[in-house]
Symmetry: none
Subunit: 224 residues, 2 copies
Amino acid sequence: MTDQKTGLGDFLRDIRIRKHWTLLEVSEMTGLAVSTLSKVENNQMSLTYDRLVQLAAGLGVDIVELFGTRSADSAPSFLGRRAISRQGEGRLIQTGNYDYLYLCTEISKKSMVPILAVLHARSMEEFGEFVHHDGQEYTYVVEGVLELHTEHYEPATLKAGDSVYFDASMGHAYLSVSDTPARILCVCSTSEKELINSLVGADGEVSNLKKKTKSMRKTSTIRK
Amino acid sequence: MTDQKTGLGDFLRDIRIRKHWTLLEVSEMTGLAVSTLSKVENNQMSLTYDRLVQLAAGLGVDIVELFGTRSADSAPSFLGRRAISRQGEGRLIQTGNYDYLYLCTEISKKSMVPILAVLHARSMEEFGEFVHHDGQEYTYVVEGVLELHTEHYEPATLKAGDSVYFDASMGHAYLSVSDTPARILCVCSTSEKELINSLVGADGEVSNLKKKTKSMRKTSTIRK
DNA sequence: CCTAAATTTAGCGTATAAGAAACATAATTT
DNA sequence: AAATTATGTTTCTTATACGCTAAATTTAGG
């Protein structure tokens, strides 16, 4: 009754206070008795499987939240860091299909990889094989018009201001359809290594790759 | 004793049979009595929080596995999925400091949360407390000029085309400094729920929040 | 088929979870 | 100030978790 290292009580009290809920309200939301909730918050009792499910459902939180394990593994070595990339700065990688400008590369342990890209290919023949990689991908069209091709879906046309989110294990390709090559901001939830591997893998050759740093000003499509 | 829809028992039996373990072996691994395990497998009893943790640890599985959440939602629900948000579309949430437009909300289990935001605050006094939340944050300036304030760093000025990546547990705030409110694309590596919690928690009040869907065209700063 | 070992299930006692209601305390109202 | 309300804590009672032991079932060898 004393030695609780669980954190369940702490979690419950935290969220309840933060949301300005009373025990009665939580009781009504979850179906658990007020007295039970009080005891849980004070670490005077545990909860059974069924009640845990009931509690999580009532609070509208994922069951995992109740097991405070998590914050530890999500961001181990990255606390309090910041990196700024100015317009045009970054690590430039060029392939036949895209110019990639990897951003904020000073920070290595990122859980997301932001990339500015210029799209060169204008047809799937020219593009070649679909790209596949781990994680998820979000793309915002900065300028121009592109055609998004993916497995399982019809091609879609995206204009400046449009964006798309998809599972990147699904094969995908971007084609420019505007007069000037389209420019996109692409954020991937995977590692840079994994991404670059997928480039090489898809394309088949590294000869197609040139590395540089700073400034993609050479391409005619840079504005501002 | 009969009506268990939990699936805990099924899960335990499944994994045990698959691994060719006996109840005795599981008992030794976990410290739970053989009889207890038997009853759990036959859905004749539930387990308390403490025993659940013990069980998961002993089996060497993530605690989540024990709950119906299982493999169901982690990857399968998202494989091969895609969502497009057209210019101006999304879930609009307004606070005193920002107009948030949550994008691609049809997909629920995203590992990144993309948001278009319009910045209203022009001074830290006006802004109030720093925002803190789990995960990492990447922000690209779409239009205008802003001033980024964070803990541990001097304020930085970002113009259209600039971007920044940082640990979001570090307090942060964006201020507009251009004539028209600055517009940013912000991608966070955390859950939408967590983000919205941080809004409510920091501000202290929900009265500041109004929910709508579709079109933030009302704001004067929308272009294109 | 029978016996013995291994494995699972069932009975029982104690500890504890869980709800109802009484109690304590602070905030509001009359 | 007394009464009322809102909120959280403490009994107290019932239901259930959980481990010990024993019974039942399954498996393996003869």
